[in-house]
């Protein structure tokens, strides 16, 4: 039979191609099973880019649900804590144009904030503890509560439930350790014709 095939070049080519097709098909099928990607990797990447304040300003209960929603085609400009930097990063990842922040969901804050409980006014109702998405408030019923500043994401969610309004959002103070060199000032137009054009 091999002889018969060898004598028919068309048949030989056909057998060879079909054989290769089966072989590589098998390989691809095996690889698809063996190296299967669990979950949607784009959601992970989006979640990495979001600021993880878990503030819910985007309308989703946390950053990951919003990441999932973006992966399903939601707008990428609903995250005020991340601001334009996050929008740009997501736009870069998804290869879409970067829109401006959607003002409907809030404005980008100038400085990072951290929740602070005026402790002598706290009545120990535990409402803020229940509201905190990252378990950054410490306390028990009828005992004073306090915020673990290092864990606080500044999401604001504890302010509203407080029945005695004793929670303030304070800007994070930047000390000498956090300081870094500012970017140099952008030079003014030096070329005479440029100056004339702009004047």
């Amino acid at each position: 039979m091999i002889e018969a095939i060898a004598q028919q070049p068309i048949l030989a080519a056909l057998v060879a191609l079909v054989g290769l097709g089966i072989l590589f098909g098998g390989l691809l099928g095996f690889a698809a099973e063996k190296f299967k990607v669990e979950g949607d990797p784009i959601v992970e990447q989006l979640d990495e880019l979001l600021p993880q304040t878990q503030c819910g300003q985007c309308g989703f209960p946390g950053c990951r649900p919003y990441a999932e929603s973006i992966a399903n085609g939601d707008a990428i400009n609903k995250c005020p804590p991340g601001g334009q930097a996050t929008i740009n990063a997501i736009a870069n990842l998804l290869d879409v144009p970067a829109p401006a922040l959607d003002a409907e969901h809030g404005e980008e804050a100038d400085a990072k904030t951290v929740a602070y409980i005026r402790e002598d006014e706290c009545i120990g109702c535990t409402k803020c503890i229940q509201a905190c998405p990252v378990d950054a408030i410490l306390g028990a019923a009828k005992l004073m509560h306090t915020v673990i500043a290092d864990e606080c994401t500044g999401c604001d969610l504890c302010v509203e439930p407080c029945p005695v309004d004793c929670i303030d959002m304070l800007p994070v103070e930047e000390g000498i350790k956090e300081w870094h060199w500012p970017a140099p000032a952008i030079p003014a137009d030096l070329i005479a014709s440029d100056r004339r054009a702009s004047a």
Partner: protein
Amino acid sequence: MKTWVTPGGVHPPENKHQSVSLPIGTLPIPDKLLIPLSQHIGAPAKPTVEIGKKVLKGQIIAEANGTVSVSMHAPTSGTITAIEHRPIAHSSGMLAPCIEITSDGRDKWKKHEGIADYKHASPNTLLKAVAKAGIAGMGGAGFPSAVKLNPGRQRPIHTLIVNATECEPYITADDSAIRERAAEVIEGIGILSQILGHPGNIMIGIEDNKPEAIAALEPHVVDTGISVVSFPTKYPSGGEKQLIYILTGEEIPSGELPADIGMVCVNIGTTYAVKRAIVDGEPLISRVTTMTGDACGINRNYETLIGTSVSHMLAHSEFKDEACSRLVMGGPMMGFSLTSADVPIVKTTNCILAPSYEEIPEDNPVQPCIRCGMCAEACPVSLLPQQLFWHSQAQDHERLEAHNLFDCIECGACSYVCPSNIPLVQYYRNSKGEIKKARAEKVKSDLARQRFEFHQQRMEQAEKDKETKRAARREAAEKAQAASGAKAGAGSAADIIAAAQARAAAKKVSPEQQQAKFERSIAGAEMRVQMAEEKLAEADSSQTDEQKNILNAAVEASKQKLEQAEARLAEHIAEHGSQEQNKDKSGERVD
């Protein structure tokens, strides 16, 4: 001895001769000394004194807070007058915690003595003494020396390099210290060698523009195993990694320390401080600082107490404020401008530069990058400064890191050669800061994510637990019911129904009572009919027709009611049957 040549580098005017014509001088003790708690890399020191406490010279006033930290000592005797935030020498111009000592002018030492037989002391004892003396690297970075000299057993040190390069223009602090104190410096190197377990190779690296210093060192290194290696002057040869390459030809991998390849590199000023600490028992309370620049009448080196204000130094150097273009702490290449002269000299301050407008004019206007490539030729670390510049402008952190921004030593050679006067180093410093900030934020956001996910999981678990509890309760209730049903038997249901019916019947009015009620109402109606008829009969003669009509109507109404009552009774009897005691009253009825 063979030396290697680093790539790049520049040759700025040295301007070192001005400040070495006079020997190292001393300044009068200032009235107030300000000691910042953070003069080094690592955690700030913790104050151990209170306001109002009297201290003696050399007494500890703040102790090291953790391993990577150094303690602070009183530079003179006096009283602690403040522990608060004050402006310090930092490029940010921000305030930092400081201890202020008001000097009593007596400059009285506390009792102190060195380790008499240090040559036989264990490395550990010596290390402890170095730590106790509060010594931090005096070349500029301020890394705690006791930490650097203790690289651990897994990293044996075979080479000790002493950095006497002092490559930056104007600065001569190390140069003059070597000229005058060569013997003590060499003794210090001996102690370091002892601490490090006598490394086989000890070298002093020095540029060939300091022949006097080399000549001063040479007689002292005879038969000590220390070699003085001089090499051609070029900026920046004094960087740790650059000097190690020049002397040994070995490169330290990116992100690693000299100790990782078995080397330790210390500044020559540090060796002198170590000698003072071990042999004399004196902590680090003063250092040699160069006071130079054309705006000062006297250019020289001073043995300066830590905490002396820059203005105090200037006041004793015939400083002409109007002639000074800016005040720089450090050299002209890597130093930073001071916003105020009231900041103190710290352990890492090797130079105060007060240049005239001719020496360092105002910055020339910045022009666009013309891609000339001179910065790449000047870079001693073989980076691509112009690429870094573009990416820094675009804030492209990923590419900056891909171009090894963090290997930049910020020497300023690229800015120096740039024909467009672009402040390249400031771009790199800014980007480094931004990247570090982004990294810190990343760590924080990862932590927040982790905590959020844990929170979610906990809430779900709580919900699930509640659900299972509820299910368990429901099941238990069903079981209990089933158990009680089985006990009473199948007939019990019928019994319950019968009992309920009986209860309902008991509530109902019995037919006898109902009949009696009707009979009573009939009797009442009969009475009213009788009375109405009597009234009608009385009224017949005297009343008018109209009144008679009304009375007739009343009689009729009463009769009607009586008929209704009788009808109801009849209906009731038809339904239930006449009861035995019931007399038929219809016969007696009056019609």
